[in-house]
Amino acid sequence: MSLNFNLGEEHVLIQDAMAKCLEPFRGRQEELKQSILVERKFPQDLWDAICATGLMGAVIPEKYGGNGMGLLSCAIGIEALAERGFGNALLVLTAMDAACILRNGTEEMKQKYLPKMASGEMKFCFGHTEPDAGSNAFRTRTFAKKDGDDYLISGQKTFITGADVADRMLLTCRTTSREACAEQGLPKAFGLALFIVDPKAPGIELRPIPTRGIEGMTQFLVHMDNVRVPASDLVGEPDMGAMALFNSLNPERILAAASACGLSKHCLDIAVKYANERAVFKERPIGAYQAISHPLAQVRIELDSVRLLTHRAAWAFDQDMNPGTVGNYSNMAKYQASELAVKAVDRAIQTLGGYGFSEEYGVIYYYEAARLLRTAPISSEMILNFVAEHDLGLPRSY
């Protein structure tokens, strides 16, 4: 009798807290939509109201200023926000970075950063992708060179979401170059390291990249030239960052999947409301036509299947199950979530007819957000590679 599909009463309360923290913004819907979807700025007071619920403290223990409710709670909260049209990539990234610091950081580092992340005072972005290293993290070139008690970091990151509004960036670097690893016969997983860097530090230049796909945020090319970072901001050991990195990507995928569930539900709600109201032939609303209603019913069914996958992955993470299993579950959830989101937005657009493209309804903006999920934070191909290799035991082609 240990299997139970009901959300716990505390999870229902979290959903409720999300709904209630948004209530004061009810009269500002239009302004918020304009800001988030069109100007791509997420209002600070909205961020503050969300963080006042303690959502960002879910993955952080009480000892470090959080509440320790866990990743599943965080995922449920983020889904509830996205369901109302208020997903936020920095919520996902800050939570993921907090989980990484918690599992790999020193005590001093945890004391320094986690309480501020829990309260929402500090936002974190994630600097990983490089012009020549996306799906393949081992090609990372950004280099951190030891200089006394500090490191000097140089290199380039691209597509870094929210680098302008984040207080810190979790940065993937090399502390031993790929070439040196090859020469010394070291394994390819050797030589990576994770640092916490202030994106406003001297030596960093941010150049906005005109990109679509994440509401309320801009992407940046982050150029780093001898950026001085104290060794105390190295997360884990030098050269040994690969495991810490890969394990941190699990919470990111889980929370991205949760956002996708919320986004899908948001679009489904818009579509169902419209289908109930819009009459085209006679007085019968278009929702009566099975060509309209069946695809929406399919989205509804798939939504539950993705939710279950997502909750399972988050639960496995909270249970501290081995990272391989958590990785497999996270990947499955993220893959299916991106398929769902694309379908949900597509069906919402189809249901709304021409209004599916109107900026007023906003559904068209979500198309980009949904479609992005097939490519980032990890592409669907890389997930299928992972599942084929690690779950099915098929040979690797690359």
Partner: protein
């Protein structure tokens, strides 16, 4: 100050209520249960009073085992502990039985003040606060939408219709039933939800409260014999056309169809 808050778990207002097949109650299968909304004002009033005057907030709820969830909501909002009356012997109480049980808890706990919702939104009886006050021989003010207290005196306002407010001064201890406008109930934050898990929950039986034979279905003087859906009302009719024609048509319909003119 020992602040008592009475609350009831009720079906969510958005739940579609259906009578059970045998008419003995409602289908409880997929009902989402919530704290009765007026009771949330009471919880908030209790918490605000505690913040001002110190003391503790104790929530009391009578109902089946699931009523614990409602109490936990209040604990997550910040109440200090809960008393749950989920013993079989309390089930099926009518408003009088429920009031006896709640009043007995108030005596046992030594409450200095009690807040409750103006009515539970399931059966809308609007009786318990007044009966409890009667049993305790305390003053009460119902439908309170403004509350201030100074020492032993509370000054409250209550809407009395026509947009007017009645101002009442009440000596404590007293019972106040709360209505909309009194405050904005806070939500349960994640830290609050976490803390609620380890807050004490006490349970009393009718015997603990010396109420054997006075509560529960057997003692009920009001019995609910069956539940039915209200008859479906025919949908309204919209008249169209020029205003003048609409008026003519309306008069014709009132005469010939409704036969009220």
């Amino acid at each position: 100050m020992k602040i008592g808050v009475f609350l009831k778990q009720v079906p969510d207002t958005e739940t579609k209520i259906r009578p059970a097949g045998d008419g003995s109650g409602i289908e409880s299968g997929d009902v989402k249960w919530i704290v009765s909304p007026y009771d949330e004002f009471a919880v908030e009033a209790g918490l605000q009073l505690k913040e001002k005057s110190g003391g503790e907030v104790v929530v009391v709820s009578l109902g089946p085992a699931r009523t614990l969830d409602a109490a936990r909501t209040a604990l997550a909002m910040g109440a200090d502990r809960a008393v749950i009356l989920d013993d079989e012997g309390f089930q099926g109480s009518d408003p009088l039985g429920t009031s006896r049980a709640l009043a007995a808890v108030a005596r046992k706990e030594g409450f200095d003040i009690i807040f409750c919702g103006r009515q539970a939104i399931d059966e809308d009886n609007n009786q318990v606060p007044q009966i409890v006050a009667g049993l305790l021989d305390w003053p009460h003010a119902s439908w309170v939408n403004s509350f201030e207290s100074e020492g032993e005196m509370a000054t409250v306002k209550r809407p009395i219709g026509g947009g007017k407010l009645e101002v009442v001064k009440v000596r404590l201890p007293a019972v106040f039933s709360c209505t909309k406008g009194l405050n904005e109930p806070r939500y349960a934050s994640l830290p609050g939800i976490m803390k609620a898990k380890s807050k004490p929950v006490a349970r009393y039986t009718p015997a603990d409260l010396e109420l054997d034979g006075q509560v529960g279905a057997s003692a009920a003087v009001v019995q609910l014999t069956s539940y039915q859906m209200p008859q479906a009302r025919p949908s309204g009719r919209m008249l169209e056309g020029e205003v003048g024609d609409q008026v003519k048509e309306l008069v014709r319909l009132l005469r010939q169809e409704a036969k009220v003119l």
